[in-house]
Symmetry: C2
Subunit: 248 residues, 2 copies
Amino acid sequence: MEQIETAPLTRPRNHSLIKDPSKLVETYPSMPVTADCVIFGFEENQLKVLLIRSDLEAFKDKWSLLGDIVYDNEDLNDAAYRVLSQRTGMDNIFLEQVRTFGSPSRHPGGRVITVAYCSLLNIQHHQLKILDNELHWHNIENLADMAFDHQTIVDACYRWLQRRIQEHPLGFNLLPEKFSLRELQNLYEAILGLTLDRRNFRKKFFAMDFLVDMNEYEKDVPHRPGKLYKFDFAKYEKNKRKWFGIDF
Amino acid sequence: MEQIETAPLTRPRNHSLIKDPSKLVETYPSMPVTADCVIFGFEENQLKVLLIRSDLEAFKDKWSLLGDIVYDNEDLNDAAYRVLSQRTGMDNIFLEQVRTFGSPSRHPGGRVITVAYCSLLNIQHHQLKILDNELHWHNIENLADMAFDHQTIVDACYRWLQRRIQEHPLGFNLLPEKFSLRELQNLYEAILGLTLDRRNFRKKFFAMDFLVDMNEYEKDVPHRPGKLYKFDFAKYEKNKRKWFGIDF
DNA sequence: CCTATTTTGTGTAAAATTTACACATTGTTT
DNA sequence: AAACAATGTGTAAATTTTACACAAAATAGG
């Protein structure tokens, strides 16, 4: 019991310290590591994922996440950002690591570890590179027959997103800079798979006090246009700490 | 715009499919991957982390997480479990992946990716291996001067735990099978760094209906002994889905 | 231009949940 | 037996969440 309570002050010298850690690390088995991005977008009131055709014969005609290898001296996040900006041409995109997948059999070419990232962007800002018709926005509901273990990865990121948007107002990353409250509500309803009360929804978001009234209105809608707002990211960043749940 | 709406039905054959994925994977840069476990315990009303002396000269007298390399054909979770059972001799321990750390400079011996796991166990069941005096339970508050980026990893896992025990009743993994409500409350208070109202705390946990009254009482306490309960893990697993927050 | 249609924008009362709070009971120590 | 220390319990007030309806704004169609 004594050992549990107090740390030994000096190291017992029955085995010696490693002087050259490089030699040690060289003996470790090593394996390729990739970063895969689950890129979410929102359009036509549906949550979408950006996918690409697999370029492996083994996965012919199947869809795959956007990903790439992590280079020798590259940080994991940097690799994910690189994938993102190469594929979308966009910058300053929301990106967060979700989980790492490493089943030895997940890649037909041998063992490959992949670190999965979740990314949220506004589809409107993205029209350039999409003309590469190997890329496609898929409705999250209709995914089928994906390459590798990518279905599992998408599922994990989707659940992650559902939980996360109830704790932090991440959803704004999926919307245009100016949006109506109806669009915001549609977004939450689509992601959570619920229908929400309009008045209570508005009350809740106004109470959070992160919406800036633009004094503009929707255009080209076949009905009374709604007011447009933007999300005050800066204000949110400052008050982040206080948060713990939006609770629908 | 058309491309956004509908997927191309047939693949344009301007570039060919890869027939031998192994050849491709062989060209990838590869790196060692390790699994590091942040093993939490609870004793004397304090949250503790199990650490070991670093065996690297560069980190002489610093403390390090328990970890090991991931073997060539080993699943990530399996590697983490292996670390856990080798070091603690325990089985069936709560273990969950938290995040992967991969800064190119995090290991002095070269690039090593580590997948961090959070593990919760009952310190009482663990007395055998602790006699190795290179292992020590550290108070979470007094960590200082850890090897590698392990302080960052511990911090991340601690925050993860704080959030997680408010969403799921994981705390029970840290307690003996039979415990009093006071012990349970102490646990939550220690992890969250709050003091909670005793009556409301009890009300909340009874309402969850996962506590089984053992009809036994604490022994050897210098005051009125409290009733002992156990947590009904099976019942919880069945009703898991319904959960979303304990909310203190 | 008038009417029908659609969607926005707003407040309140009821229900549910969370919080604050005190005293009698049980067992130990001296 | 008296002092001490912690358990165990209920209720009222405050807060939060829910349910719900109607007038106003703009468009579309005749």
